[in-house]
Symmetry: D2
Subunit: 368 residues, 4 copies
């Protein structure tokens, strides 16, 4: 008797899709990748000629509907571009499949709500939001210390930055037009961490500003390449964020949680590995290039826990709706960035003020 494994298909074979297939095949023993799907010709070619895929009998589809009909398929991993996350998740659920959906579910709150509603109608299916930091060993250790061991007393402030290495290939900028703006694209992990560590605080007001330093072409899509935002939460809690797409030294993602009895830092000093070079310049260590090097094993844990929730019929580690509140805050920051005005919520967390003025900080940066 073969081991009990979940038959899964992966849709989207971009950089991350390929990595998810890799993780599922090589580090998730209870997953059985039966199919992949993409509608991009170069990805199809790549997949069809991949010897590993042949060896592991992974079918390659160019139509999502066809993959959903693959014999024995039980689950789908949605790893496409943001604009089709919602529809593909919905289709998977309606087909009776478990679905892991990359963040964000949608940049439109109504659309993502619709998917959540559909998922709620299929409680037997595991439908999960992929917030990978929730599976990282360091963030989990921090959560244990903050929330269970209470080593910093009452937590009241988050400082978080998601600062990516400068992409000199231009790939990112082409992709940026569909991603909803820098806070939606980069800060949602930081906002998610805020909700986690501050125990689901209700936002009260936020403001943001930004600048264009390396990607003037982003001005066309009303975006910036560096932004700073502050969110005040009801009850005297505060979070502030820095998003950057223009780091020179590497992927610099760090988080600090301040509490009444101490502070916990995660990855304040990013390091590629344990090596230090001592030479004429002094002492130097390298920094991870991107989130993959930082979170490679978090993706393993994420995949395993999704598969386990299916096999054991347990709750998914990150429910779909977690992403909804995160997205509301990201969009309010985005609105503040674009308008220069403060966004405000009432105590129930309903957005009551949100500016409409055109972005100007970015254009200034660009103009210089």
């Amino acid at each position: 008797m073969a081991p009990r494994r979940v038959n899964i298909g992966v849709v989207g074979l971009g950089r991350m899709g390929k990595r998810h297939v890799h993780t599922l095949v090589s580090r998730t023993p209870r997953a059985n990748v039966v199919a992949v799907c993409t509608n991009l010709e170069h990805e199809l070619e790549w997949a069809r000629s991949n010897q590993d895929y042949k060896d592991f009998e992974i079918a390659v589809y160019d139509k999502y509907e066809d993959m959903l009909n693959h014999t024995g398929i039980e689950a789908v991993w949605v790893s496409t571009s943001t604009d089709v996350h919602a529809i593909q998740t919905k289709m998977g659920v309606q087909k009776g499949l478990h679905v892991m959906c990359e963040k964000p579910l949608s940049i439109h709150l109504e659309e993502s709500q619709e998917v959540i509603d559909i998922a709620d109608k299929h409680p037997q299916l595991k439908v999960m939001a992929a917030f990978s930091r929730r599976f990282d060993a360091s963030y989990r250790d921090a959560a244990k210390k903050v929330l269970q061991e209470r080593v910093i007393g009452k937590p009241y402030m988050i400082r978080a930055q998601t600062c990516d290495l400068l992409d000199t290939t231009g790939f990112f900028v082409r992709y940026a037009t569909r991603n909803g703006g820098i806070f939606v694209d980069c800060a949602i992990h930081d906002i998610d961490l805020t909700l986690w560590y501050l125990d689901n605080p209700v936002p009260k007001a936020c403001w943001a500003t930004g600048t264009l330093q390396h990607h003037p072409e982003l001005a066309e899509s009303n975006d910036v390449d560096n932004a700073v935002g502050v969110v005040e939460y009801w009850g005297g809690k505060i979070a502030y964020y820095h998003c950057s797409r223009t780091q020179i030294h590497g992927h610099d993602v760090s988080t600090e949680v301040s509490g009444t009895e101490g502070k916990i830092s995660v990855n304040l000093i990013p390091r590629a590995n344990n090596v230090v070079v001592n030479d004429k310049r002094g002492m130097t260590h390298e920094v991870q290039e991107e989130y993959w090097q930082r979170f490679e094993y978090a993706f393993e844990t994420e995949a395993r826990e999704f598969i386990d929730s299916i096999l054991t019929d347990g709750p998914v580690p990150v429910p779909l709706k977690t992403g909804q509140k995160v997205m509301e805050i990201a969009r309010a920051l985005q609105s503040a960035l674009w308008s220069g005005e403060v966004s405000r919520w009432n105590e129930k967390g309903e957005l009551i003020e949100s500016g409409e003025r055109k972005i100007n900080g970015a254009l200034n940066g660009h103009a210089k």
Copy 2:
């Protein structure tokens, strides 16, 4: 023939006043402390019974006017509480003495302008603002790298925090009522660093929020014990600040300057010394308790350069008016914190919008 030394008097014998006397006596060979002055009885007693003061023939005065008339006095170091900085500086200048004035000159922009004007009328006198970080070896090294060697390309963003150890004695809170609010009291060094490293940018807009975590009594003086503020500058530059009076681990003051070709960090990991304890908890190092441990030798350099500017009739390292622009920005952040509204400047740096609403973030934090 005795060496050429500057005869100096120190007014104010609080914690810092004593330290300045110490620095001048023991690490500033060209200074000759001839007198000290305080109107507080316990400080007077302490000074009168101090054997070092006797040995070094330091006269002790209880009236500032009297000290100004001490035979041979050439310079004054003003180290009193903020509310008398301006008047004492003015009196010193009018008496024909050089003056070093602790920051800030005044929390009232008109008052400090008046002193600046008077000083301008006495160009032969050295009148200097004491921004101690400008004399710190690390901040100077960072300035050299940023401004001269241009190792980070064009600098465009500052992240700075001035986070002080929690004061459990209550001393601070009693003092807080006269200091103008947390941004005026704590952030002005950070704002000064911003002007330094970003080459005197013109502010465009700012917003801030705060919370009360340990000192509910501050609510009476409309203050908070933690605040976060963001300042957008014209030309696509940004600075953001965190001020805290409630750190548990020590004095945690760090600064990061981001540029188009890199980032420079100063004191990201604060350390009391070079010792690490490896035990059951892991690896631990201590953190400086307060700014004195962090900046002890910056104060030495500051004192020496002030004395040198007198002896050589050279320019003072930090002109009085530097403090004026810093104070304007601090007060705009303070206004944003109190009102919840955005403060705005035009391209000439004239404040054009500033909210008046009552502070609410602080009260929330307090209420919880």
Copy 3:
């Protein structure tokens, strides 16, 4: 058609044996664990009741000979105690199976040479020594920098320490009687790194000393719980080692390679993860408890490369004989430790002097 996988059996189900099975099952997609074997009753029970083993159809044997006869078995992973490594490796090879053998092959040089000779007679079989640090990302990065990029010029000195967490369970001490002494047990990875980074230098002389701080019972087996040794190599190269079984803060394994143009450090500051706690004591990070936390993913790479060498009929990454030279040096250090005398080699690397005096340093430490 099922993917091409190597059918492998693991002998020894102690702490590491279990971990190797785990790695092979869950992170080595081209390996197929078909059997395990142990002659210890409690390990047999544990294995027989293990649901994962049932799910993945892993046969459980109590006789090594029986496992070697398992239908379709192609390779063996030897993870038993040191005293049977050689015989089990030999039996595997003689049965026509590929073998991965945990370090050391044997503490008796003659015995290990015999196995090497037998393996040499079966060149079609992959027989590999498990020196896990050779597969660690940081050590590989260091090797690339030292040997390929030559960033430190000509390397001439190694400082290495293998310092293990104090084992308060007594398990280790019971095990220690068969492991050949502290240098044989702990330093062979460090010696292997020396041969790697200094490009197979020929030893010239060595001396060592040790002490007993926590495990006085080790005196019975003539062993110590902390030892320091220095090896001079021909050509002006030097390595020095510290082995400890009594660390309080965790697994502290670090290596430094000095060269004419710089120095490279690996893991000088051991860290369990990226989390730092800032509290009354200062700033603290935890340290890995043991080599597993430090080298978990090196074991993954090791397993994958062993399996790959079989599937592609390529050379094994670490030949069996690498361990032989390492063991010679370890035993010479051990001899120096026991005798208090210098061990010496001629320029061909033949041992020409080696002391016989009884250990005394250890007893001193114990006596105190």
Copy 4:
């Protein structure tokens, strides 16, 4: 009445002599430098034209005897080359002056013993050995933690390195011929720390080896530019040392003290200041160039405490004889380095074996 100050003369105006004058003049308010002395023409010229020296009325002598006769002189700071330390100290004492003598007193044990005997006959005079690390804030903090707070239980092992920046000027090599060899020149601070932290242990055996990597000309004076030595002490204590004159990244002096309950590290990661540069290479900090940057303020404390011991007639912080035991161990290591043989002591600390064979490791390194 002028403050009570000690009139002091400094002999030797090399790099360190100038620095001691600087410290005494500018950071030691109770010292009054009345004279300096050197017999080197270029130093004399430099001193005679030094405006500060003129301003502070410092007499410049070319004969030590003359300086000893300077009116009012009370103390002498001996900062000449090692070969005249003993005679100048003796002359100072015989003249009735307090003496601070740079380390080492002499490389000849008989000569230094003679000076100690003479000093003992003048108990009213303060005669002190300048072991500057004893005055460093970090080493003192470590001593407090180890010896008073006992945070690491019973200390039993020292690892210490004194690794100096490569001197490409050739100055050092010219100087090296008189300094007694690398362990005598570089390791005596490390040995002193060992005696301090391990509470004056009695040496039992030692061995050492070395290599020549950058300074082949040292072979003429039978010296090496890198050496490693291990000292076993009676009672199960161990210290091991690395001395280097060829570091590329800076002055890398670190010390670790292992105890039964933990380990304390001092300066494991040397840093020039708090600045980190984040750029394409990763994250880099600079390292101090030499001991002056590392110990500048230790020299201040040393000078103040010497002066205080005179003014208060208290004991000197580091008695002359401390250096004697240190020198014995340094010379035994030197002997082991030169001979390749083990040096041994009996339980009373009397040297009973010491090799005579010619150094060979160094020549090997050189030959390559």
